[in-house]
Symmetry: C2
Subunit: 737 residues, 2 copies
């Protein structure tokens, strides 16, 4: 918060503020349109590298030494790709060509002999085509001249439909197949995209306990990486048993991951194991005749910096925030994965939460887009994403959120065709009432919860379906597809109407869980009700009813996973119950910390003791002790305590509605596309400065808030709105209720 | 014809004949159903290996040293595959497992630790699952126990939709995704399917002419393979210019294929070039400082034996038949390709003719199925096959023919889902009149012919469309899909009706070429008219009218490609004009032979002279001098002179309608699924013996035919039908008209 303090006394004139707003507006507009880049970068068919990379990553999961891949369809890249762009040059230009794959180069339709790595393009208007074939990696090119550079303005197709006509002329049909290139910040021509690796750095155990031929090593906290064996000598077997807990590392028969190795070295030799693993502890077992000097590891991580922050008067909350951050970072790898021990896969429902946390911590668009592409895969759609109906809908929702937080319309445009085909798949599977009901092969997941019914038409699925259709309408609008806007808007309206007509129960003051054979059940669960709150689907009256009848009603089945706790606490926050949520956070996440957690878990049940906590799915160490969905405090604290969220795409406008929830003070940073919003708040003073966008600070105060540069509006009783302009530091005094 | 003569005097009793017929019937029935095999073989997802292999093959084309791939979408295999089968064992069994790719093994849902290559399956009922991931090659397994063996009865899926439910149990949904395995006669566990290579044998040039640092070598006839340089010594460049003609090999600047090499060898070294090429001549050019002792080649070929044969009294026809055979063999490689120099690709229209020739020569089902799978590719369908509308339809037609010639229903069943999605693509592109009209990106090819109109609704395309719909109805029936049978039958009827309502011109006594803006043109071309004849779409009256008004009418644009000559001559044969066709054959194919052809060409124009003949597509040596579609005499002589063709699937019944067409005698063999039909015919005697099926010999004779075992029926005037039973040799005397 140094620079915040330094600049807080700077006074700016109103004229300057307006000037800055306009200039900021231009900058944002430029990034939202598709300006050609001027820097050469590796390019490929959008989504293809992401799919390829996710195959690489997801196939690294092992279970007790066995290869353990995903059970859904694994897609593949287009193996043959045509890249082209037309340039008008003032003078001849030498152009260097790099490709991943076998390739050829054409200038104005004429093939160069052989496989040229340098060509000279004459002055004038010329079209360059590069065609690349690659089976095991993704066809990609890197082109660099003084003005001719490979960037996302190049056009690509997987079927150029080009032929030689009867007269011997080459003609090609510019059909809809041409799409703008995808890229991923790979800017070194000598490093092929397929060579991409996460960063590593060495780490050592903090303690080693020897017991006969075995050693138990503790790396101090949950970690992830490659075991490095130093000074192996002799001939024999080495077993490495990995444990997120000491108990797991000590359990040869139940540990989830292990390596059984064999070495034969006459002189001391080092070995770095090829597969990275999740662990805090490892047990090293050596057979007679072989010794290992010592063991360290290469910690592997995605080198993404934090842009957001949170600190407050409560040390436990600060500790929870820190452990949540570490948990999210461990699970933010090539993609947002679910857990680092298990499943190491890209799950849409899990990733959806990571995106939201990301917007309040790293705000890294690249990992969001990469994960969205990887999850979507390719056409034809033969199943729900990850085979789960809800996960298909989260995918749509993630695009809505991404657009709001980033303002990135190019991604929406690039992605829209595959949004449509996925929605077509959903629409083709509606039942006779136009609702989504499980069909053979569909997994209705919702949550891990005992006895949760998945039969018939579950209200929760219709809720997500409706929001997905609204997202389609929004994206159709961005694509200027008026017909689609109408189609999706009407479909969304219809589903929303049915949601209330079919599921709202006036006695229970809640949406019921499902309809079976066309009849609404009497069963109330939390899912649809809590989502409806932050989707803003309810009337204020309904919201208050649901709070009592569902959220605070102990007779409604409780939620035990941090996964659904995320939404439950979000709903309570959206209803203004930050005080309650703070307590819950301290109990639930604090509870894990009390048990020694160094990262947050897949599931936590306060009634369990000791190693019982590590069991899940019928296995003693089945539970993941580092699960992304455990890191939700990052999101809750940023969005509902600091209270910052965009109200139009890319933070062009945003709300700040700080809520201390019982804290004495809090301060933090929320990243925006090209800057951030900094905030400090106690019971009498709020300091805020934003680097872009037009903010609305909503404040409850017993007194009329006072401060510099203030444009104040009183809404009702104790509620005020203060306009926040970029690059102005506001210090506001008020009196909390 | 040795064994024919040897057995001709064997006399069999009627009872024995009946017995043999029944037994033959059983054998045929068994092959048509899907009996589990008992021999272990490599298995994979049907079509995936074929697509992979076609990518390998088609990407070997080069043009003047540049990589020259196809311009349509290149599909890819599923990278993650689950294989399973349930066995009931009497006693425990040791099972060896081989896989191409990373894999795991489950027994009754429980994963084995690591990657086992041998497992023991206990007695009783057990399910084995093997999951394989492979990106650069096709996931494949080879499993061998005493009863547990990988064969086409194993079930596969690319999305097993298997998950662990809340209770920790594994459940999987047997959705429609499970399909029976594909295989390809790869029966050695130690040779991976991806290692498949065609056979080779060494060949040497028949002459070498030296001129300075260059040598021109003649391999005696068109050939294909890898150049082998013997005794390279020194440092420098070696150029190899390939020529199908001497002129091409001598043209550094215009030859279509060449290798520019660089070597640096202190001692004599051999080098076999990595890429096979088509040529008769090569020119070897060496720079100062480098020498080559000699050059040979490795002739590369698909080792497929001929089962059919043809010989007759005309030596030119025999020569044409032999050169056609060689042409077809050169173009029958991993797949049926178009030409060995150019394009070395799998084109549906070209392959369609190769299939038909194949049925009368090698009768190799594997190459037919492999080519059909490769052409079809994967879903989603985004374009016509090879981007050509007619080529999509030939693909459907090829399945109809394959079924008739092979009787193989398993392939039809395995292939039916992808037939449906391809037909859906076509149906979605009909115009408002329900007809097929070119849309952007569609290539309406028809033929290489000057000024041929592709506008509007071309009658030829509707003709093929109609036959494709009929094929769909047939295959729907084999799949017991009554609904589809009706849908496709009605669609076919509708198109057929329109074909006559819209295109038949009573003045011109022909189908006109096209409709433009809903109005039939006055232009008559040969295409739809000749296809309608062998499709049996016309009344006998119409057929005769077309013969005069189109086929024999010189004012209708002539056909110059052997490609369409195939169908033109077929139509004339179907109308009984074998005499005329024989003359045409001798002129056209004999014309190429006179010019020194050692294989038949892509196109032949008798008005051209010398090296003019080698030009095409605006390039001096653009023409392919070894093009599969040049080999059609194989088909014409087998089907319309020997006169043998199936009348029900797999030759269960067939017709023999010999026609000498002016020949003094002819003899030959036509292969059937499990045997052949042998025939010798002169103007007074026919000898015939078939090893399966029930034949009908149709004979025109001035006298009542006489012979052994004869069941004779007089149809009209001089036309007789004689029933042919299997394994009986008939000698029939008659008098030709």
């Amino acid at each position: 918060m140094q620079s915040f303090h330094k600049t807080k006394k700077r006074i700016q004139q109103a004229a300057l503020i307006i000037l800055l707003t306009i200039s900021f507006g231009n900058v944002r507009a430029q990034s939202a349109t598709e300006q050609p880049e001027s820097k050469a970068t590796w390019i490929w068919y959008p989504g293809d590298y992401e799919i390829w990379l996710s195959n690489q990553m997801q196939n690294r999961r092992t279970d007790r030494g066995s290869f353990f891949p995903v059970f859904w369809k694994m897609d593949n890249h287009f193996v043959l790709m045509d890249f082209h762009k037309t340039y008008t040059l003032q003078k001849p230009e030498e152009v260097h060509i790099y490709a991943e794959g076998k390739y050829n180069v054409k200038l104005d339709g004429k093939l160069f002999e052989g496989t040229p790595s340098i060509i000279t393009v004459p002055a004038g208007k010329h079209k360059i085509n590069i065609k690349v074939y690659s089976l095991a990696t993704v066809p990609a090119i890197f082109v660099k001249g003084s003005t001719i550079v490979s960037d996302t303005s190049w056009l690509l197709t997987y079927e150029d439909k080009e032929w030689i006509d009867e007269t011997g002329k080459t003609s090609d049909v510019s059909a809809t197949q041409w799409v703008k290139a995808g890229s991923g910040n790979f800017n070194d021509p000598n490093i092929l995209p397929s060579q991409f690796k996460l960063a590593t750095r060495p780490q050592s155990p903090i303690s080693v306990a020897k017991e006969g031929d075995a050693s138990l090593m503790d790396f101090g906290k949950e970690t992830f990486g490659y075991i490095h064996l130093h000074g192996i000598k002799g001939k024999g077997k080495i077993n490495i048993i990995y444990g997120e807990s000491k108990e797991e590392a000590n359990s040869d028969s139940e540990a989830i991951t292990l390596d059984r190795l064999y070495f034969d070295h006459e002189v001391n030799t080092d070995s770095i194991l090829p597969l990275s693993k999740a662990f805090r502890y490892i047990k090293l077992e050596t057979s007679d005749g072989i010794t290992v000097d010592s063991v360290s590891m290469l910690y592997e991580y995605a080198d993404i910096k934090d842009k957001g922050s949170f600190r407050c008067s409560d040390t436990l909350i600060n500790k929870i925030y820190d452990v949540a951050k570490y948990t999210l970072h461990l699970n933010t790898r090539e993609f947002f994965i679910d857990g680092i021990k298990r499943d190491r896969w890209v799950w849409s429902g899990d990733a959806y939460q990571s995106y939201l946390m990301n917007y309040y911590l790293m705000n890294d668009n690249e990992t969001v887009k990469r994960t969205i592409y990887a999850l979507r895969g390719k056409d034809p759609v033969t199943s729900h994403i990850n085979t789960i109906m809800d996960y298909t809908f989260y995918w749509f929702l993630s695009i809505y959120d991404y657009y709001m937080y980033s303002g990135d319309t190019s991604f929406i445009k690039q992605n829209y065709p595959r949004m449509k085909t996925l929605m077509d798949f959903c629409l083709s599977r509606r039942n006779k009432d136009g609702l989504m009901e499980g069909q053979p092969g569909d997994w209705i997941f919702i949550d891990w919860a005992n006895g949760l019914s998945k039969k018939g038409e579950v209200s929760f699925e219709q809720m997500l379906f409706c929001r997905s259709l609204e997202t389609m309408a929004l994206c159709a609008k961005i694509n200027n597809d008026v017909k689609d806007v109408n189609v999706y808007t009407n479909l969304a309206k219809d589903v929303k109407q049915k949601l209330f007509d079919y599921y709202w129960n006036d006695q229970k003051k809640a949406l019921v869980h499902s309809r079976i054979n066309g009849v609404a059940t009497q069963n109330v669960t939390r899912y649809a009700n809590m989502f409806g709150i932050f989707f803003n689907y309810f009337t204020p009256k309904q919201e208050q009813e649901i709070k009592t009848s569902v959220l605070l009603n102990n007779s409604v089945q409780k939620i035990t996973t941090p996964y659904m706790r995320f939404y439950e606490l979000e709903a309570l926050c959206a209803l203004g119950d930050q005080q309650l949520v703070l307590k819950e956070m301290k109990d639930y996440w604090g509870g894990m910390l009390k048990l020694g957690a160094t990262s947050f878990w897949e599931e936590y049940d306060p009634s369990k003791h000791g190693a019982e906590n590590y069991a899940m799915y019928g296995r003693a160490f089945g539970k993941s002790l580092c699960h992304a969905w455990g890191a939700s405090p990052i999101y809750l604290l940023g969005k509902y305590y600091l209270g910052v969220s965009p109200t139009s795409p890319g933070y062009a406008t945003y709300n700040v509605q700080p809520s201390l929830g019982g804290l004495k003070w809090m301060e933090g940073t929320v990243p925006t596309p090209h800057g951030n919003i900094r905030l400090r708040c106690d019971q009498t003073t709020i300091r805020i400065k934003a680097s872009e966008g037009e903010g609305t600070l909503r404040l409850k105060s017993k007194t009329v808030p006072k401060g510099n540069h203030m444009k104040l509006k009183k809404l009702n009783n104790d509620l005020y709105e203060i306009n926040i302009q970029p690059n102005v530091e506001y210090t506001i005094t008020y009196k909390t209720l």
